[in-house]
């Protein structure tokens, strides 16, 4: 099964945000967007343009940290969120190193890019890719995206972002300026999994249950013994 990814060559991005508005129209997100939420948006920073969107990590921190399994990664490499399983604990907000999940209190759901899975599964590019006037956004097989990114980056002495951050992502950005100087989060080149708060909480819950259970058992045994002696 194909694994997908984006390549964003920011040398061709002008910050027009046609991608942002197309996403809003494609996913009918007008009310949310009017309240400041966006699945993808380009922010005009002093040293460059900051693309804020889900990175569809290889080892998503949101998936690892979600206690209810609302976040999950599909075989196509797409990180999705199912609001029906979400308990609104916002652990993912803390866990995501790219500051992606936005909690919409009004609709009680997270706002996050879905890689237009509804289009991708039909063989159509995501809406943002279709709309980009300069071709700064491309989409395709993740392996090919990574290879192209490496070649273009080397040939043009560009920085890459998303290649190794958080253990690798499916959104590779190429830029002239150092990413951190533009405002991209300085993310470690590995993912932290299996040490999320849910494991600690789970362990504490088990310990409590065991203690309470054993205490009750012991008290009951004592009661029975006392009755016998009487």
């Amino acid at each position: 099964m194909a694994n997908y990814g984006f390549l964003i060559d920011t040398r061709f991005c002008t910050g027009c945000n046609t991608c942002f508005y197309k996403c809003v129209q494609e996913n009918r997100l007008h009310q949310q967007a009017a309240r400041g939420f966006s699945r993808t948006v380009v922010l005009i920073q002093d040293n460059g343009l900051l693309q804020h969107r889900c990175m569809h990590c290889e080892n998503p921190s949101c998936v690892a940290s979600c206690p209810s399994g609302a976040f999950y990664k599909t075989p196509e490499g797409i990180v999705l969120h199912n609001p029906q399983h979400c308990i609104g604990c916002k652990t993912c907000v803390v866990a995501c190193p790219f500051n992606v999940p936005q909690w919409d209190l009004q609709k009680k759901e997270f706002v996050k890019c879905t890689m237009c899975i509804h289009r991708v599964l039909k063989g159509i590019n995501p809406a943002c890719v279709e709309a980009c006037p300069t071709g700064a956004l491309t989409f395709g097989d993740r392996g090919e995206i990574l290879n192209t990114a490496k070649k273009v980056s080397e040939a043009n002495k560009l920085y890459m972002y998303g290649m190794e951050e958080n253990g690798g992502t499916s959104v590779i950005m190429l830029m002239k300026e150092k990413p951190v100087n533009i405002g991209y989060p300085d993310v470690a080149s590995y993912s932290i999994t299996g040490r999320g708060p849910s494991t600690i909480m789970g362990a504490a819950a088990v310990a409590t249950l065991v203690y309470v259970g054993l205490k009750k058992y012991s008290d009951r045994r004592k009661q029975i013994e006392e009755k016998k002696n009487q």
């Binding site: 009017a34 948006v41 922010l43 343009l49 058992y217």
Partner: protein, 862 residues
């Protein structure tokens, strides 16, 4: 039946074991296949498509991208409506792309604040503090009222504020009234200098167009090898899909792009090979120095100059005019035969030298070739001089001039709108002249890879399909915008091209001071009061007007506070269209669009209004036989006529239904052919470098250095750089009243004035602080109105002597629920001009939109 007994001990044992297992569930969690959670609704489309309607974007910018409007059913509401756009790959302009403004246009059809009925004011007092007392009136009744009231005014008392579209042109000419429009704020210098140098309207390919932006040519962005942008990259350009897709292709092909701009735009981040934060208003110095380098080092295309320009044409030393007239048969000095010969027949014309002495029409003449005069004109404009003025390094100016010349004719200096050589400064018309000369020296005019001229397809004016049966009445001798004081523009307007832009930079002054006008009719769907610089003068003047009418899609500031009647306009997607690809004319092309929906409510198209008023007030010009019989109304479908004449289709409907709505002739670009057909000089057309008309107006016929109108003084030391967000267009509520666009503006600080970080530090200003911007009172003597705004500190304001403002904000109308009170109005800072001041500096009479210095003071929260 046996029953299983479970003792309490057994229950406790099993229960605690289960709890233990449940506690370890996180371990197993990840092993649970996602399929059990995979009913996510994200895998479904949020809409179903029912149809795709071809359209042409005619009001968001000058590109006129063609695309499809996708109509379908929204899964949540179940309502069928326009949802989004889809690209039209065959369109040579957009090539399957569209922009955020095009997308926003789709949603604007359903803006809850959209005006769908006509309104009539019942409170005769106008102004910001008056309740208009609007009542709904049928559009038919409103027009009847308006027509009755217009009958009471003389021709001298009426002005139409509208671009010169075919209907407005016909209406104003038939009524014998003046027209003024805001395109002087955008295109005025381009238009007039281009007209005087080459396009000489009405030429063979002179066309009425939907957008009426009046640029007369495009640029071959994808094939050019070298581009110089004198501020061509405003923030607005960041959003123009119809240009960007070509520029991106050019960049991939290796085009080198040099940018001169005091602000660092997002386009510069990625597209600029070199970027220089030039001192505002000094681009002219760099352009003049480049001309000198190219001439001194003989990097020009001599053959092109001799064959396609007036470079060898002789100019009389005494009269300082072309011998043979400005449009006549010119003469050259033949180096071989040592005598004058007709320019077109001379095999060895002199470009330099002189004075050449000869007899002509019984007089002794002493003359120089134009090229020699140009050489003398720029002799003092050294790179040292230019560098000192512009703060661009000398080495850069020299190298760029050489590189540009060597890349010619595959080089260009694009200028489409208010940015480069637009009406920004008092010296902008000179910059336009200099830029065109740079194109001329390299032979980039009318050549692949350079400047592309219109050819082969046109859309006629109404006069062509329905000639007036008798001459139009004369216009009033005096224009409320003082156009009559500017012979260069007045001559073109009256005798050559009635659609020529004029003179919004002075109309406020005219309406306020002269008080002759009693009736103002605005055709306003996208600009309104914001299109006017120093609108406070117009606001005051309109308070006293007897009749003010607006045709608009919204009740904006102008409509709400100062109009007597507001007529609801049609949305651009509710109109059928035929368009030529004016901004990318490499291939002759027609593209058509269909109405996406019928206009709701009581909306009326501008053409309908013009015909009604015309038939009522000047019927002899609106009927085919000059009668007053409305049954004989003139045909107005210029699109059908154009298609039939070209042999493409019988009408637009057939073109759309049977030919796919697009016709394109992909032939190789005919280099240097259109110059012959439209240019000056006879028998074959040429580019004019030397401008007789400018001389006759008392100005320099060849570009000379001149400073800006204003100088920094004391606290008034910040040069105003006016731009617009990539996702808005003028003050158009179609975008600014869109809550999604508004949220995007807020995310990117578009609702703030941008100042340089060092300036902020020196003045103790922090991000988000309120400041007051004020114009030097020396230049704004009447009705000053300082602007209060919040600040965004950004190093994209690359110079300490600049401040960036975003145009189009600051609506006050209570009928714009999202646009109201959002941002500030930068137009309040730009002075309306006394025509006597303008005449001194600028024969084209433009608005000088950025020629102003302001002070910044902390505080002043509005």
């Amino acid at each position: 039946m046996k029953t299983a007994k479970l003792s309490r001990r057994q229950l406790l044992k099993w229960g605690s074991t289960s709890a233990l297992l449940a506690g370890f569930s996180p371990i197993f969690k990840n092993l649970v296949p996602f399929a059990s959670f995979a009913e996510a609704t994200e895998k479904e489309f949020k809409y179903t498509i029912t149809k795709k309607i071809p359209q042409v974007c005619a009001r968001a910018c000058e590109c006129d991208c063609a695309y499809y409007v996708v109509v379908g059913k929204d899964s949540e509401s179940g309502v069928e409506r326009a949802l989004t756009l889809e690209g039209w790959k065959d369109d040579p302009v957009s090539r399957g792309k569209y922009c955020i403004k095009g997308l926003a246009f789709v949603d604007s059809m359903y803006d809850p604040d959209r005006l769908l009925v006509s309104l009539k004011r019942t409170n005769p007092k106008k102004g910001l503090n008056e309740d208009p007392g609007w009542v709904i009136i049928s559009t038919q009744d409103a027009l009847t009222d308006i027509i009755q009231r217009m009958k009471k005014f003389s021709r001298e008392e009426i002005v139409f504020c509208s671009p010169g579209d075919p209907y407005t042109n016909r209406l104003c000419r038939s009524l014998g009234v003046r027209r003024s429009d805001q395109r002087t704020e955008c295109f005025g210098t381009h238009y007039y200098i281009n007209s005087l140098m080459l396009t000489n309207p009405p030429n063979k390919y002179y066309s009425s167009t939907y957008t009426l932006t009046h640029s007369v040519w495009g640029f071959d962005y994808s094939t050019t090898k070298y581009m110089i942008w004198f501020g061509f990259d405003s923030f607005t350009k960041c959003g123009k899909a119809g240009i960007l897709n070509h520029i991106a292709e050019g960049k991939r092909n290796g085009t080198k792009i040099i940018i001169f701009n005091p602000m660092k735009t997002p386009i510069a981040d990625g597209f600029a090979d070199e970027w220089y934060p030039i001192k505002p208003g000094t681009d002219l110095a760099v352009a003049l120095a480049m001309i000198k380098i190219i001439i001194d080092r003989k990097l020009y295309n001599e053959k092109f100059l001799k064959e396609y320009t007036d470079s060898a044409a002789l100019v009389d030393e005494k009269t300082q005019l072309h011998i043979g007239g400005s449009e006549g048969n010119w003469f050259a000095w033949c180096k071989t035969h040592k005598k004058i010969e007709p320019l077109g027949k001379c095999d060895d014309p002199a470009l330099e030298g002189g004075p050449y002495e000869f007899e002509y029409q019984g007089k002794h003449i002493s003359a120089h070739p134009v090229f020699q005069l140009l050489k003398e004109s720029i002799k003092d404009y050294t790179v040292e001089w230019a560098s000192k003025i512009s703060e661009v390094p000398q080495e850069a100016i020299t190298r760029i001039a050489e590189e540009y010349a060597k890349a010619s004719p595959y080089s260009c200096i694009p200028n489409l709108k208010r940015d480069p050589a637009g009406p920004n400064y008092a010296n902008s018309w000179r910059l336009m002249h200099a830029i065109n000369i740079l194109h001329t020296l390299g032979g980039s005019f009318d050549h692949e890879g350079g400047v592309l001229l219109l050819s082969d397809v046109k859309i006629p004016w109404l006069e062509e399909i329905a000639p007036p049966v008798k001459p139009y009445p004369p216009l009033p001798a005096e224009a409320p915008d003082f156009r009559h004081e500017f012979p260069v523009t007045e001559n073109i307007y009256q005798k050559k091209d009635f659609s020529a832009p004029g003179h919004y930079g002075i109309i406020g002054y005219g309406l306020y001071h002269t008080k002759k006008i009693k009736c103002v009719f605005f055709k306003n769907p996208f600009r309104g009061l914001h299109a006017l610089i120093q609108p406070q003068m117009v606001e005051k003047a309109l308070e006293k007007m007897e009749l003010v009418v607006d045709w608009n899609l919204y009740v904006d500031d102008l409509s709400y506070f100062w109009c007597d009647y507001i007529l609801p306009g049609t949305h651009q997607f509710e109109e059928a269209k035929l368009d030529i690809r004016q901004y990318y004319p490499k291939y002759p092309c027609y593209v058509a669009g269909s109405a996406v929906q019928k206009s709701p409510g009581d909306c009326i198209g501008w053409g309908g209004i013009a015909v009604k008023i015309g038939l009522a007030l000047a019927p002899e010009y609106w009927t085919v036989d000059g009668s007053t019989n409305p049954e004989k109304v003139i045909p107005t479908n210029t699109g059908d006529y154009a298609l039939k004449k070209q042999g493409i289709a019988n009408n637009t409907k057939e073109f759309l239904t049977q030919k796919g709505g697009i016709w394109i002739h992909k032939r190789p670009y005919p280099n240097w052919r259109t110059i012959r057909e439209i240019g000056y000089g006879r028998p074959e057309g040429r580019i004019r470098i030397y401008l007789d008309e400018i001389l006759e107006a008392g100005h320099d016929p060849l570009p000379k250095w001149a400073k800006r109108w204003t100088e920094p003084e004391g606290d008034y030391r910040f040069s105003l750089i006016v731009t617009r967000a990539p996702w808005t267009m003028h003050a158009d509520p179609n975008f600014l009243n869109n809550p999604v666009i508004k949220a995007l503006c807020e995310k990117n600080f578009i609702d703030r004035v941008w100042i340089n970080p060092q300036v902020a530090q020196e003045m103790g200003i922090s991000e988000g602080d309120w400041v007051t911007l004020e114009t030097n009172p020396k230049y704004m003597t009447v009705l000053p109105r300082p602007v209060k705004a919040r600040v965004h500190i950004s190093s994209r304001v690359a110079r300490k002597d600049c401040v960036i403002t975003f145009h189009g904000l600051g609506h006050r109308s209570p009928k714009l629920r999202y646009a109201k009170s959002f941002g500030y109005r930068d137009g309040d800072l730009i002075p309306q001009k006394d025509p006597n001041i303008v005449k001194k500096y600028d024969p084209t009479g433009m608005g000088w939109v950025e020629d102003v210095y302001v002070s910044i003071k902390k505080g002043g929260r509005s």
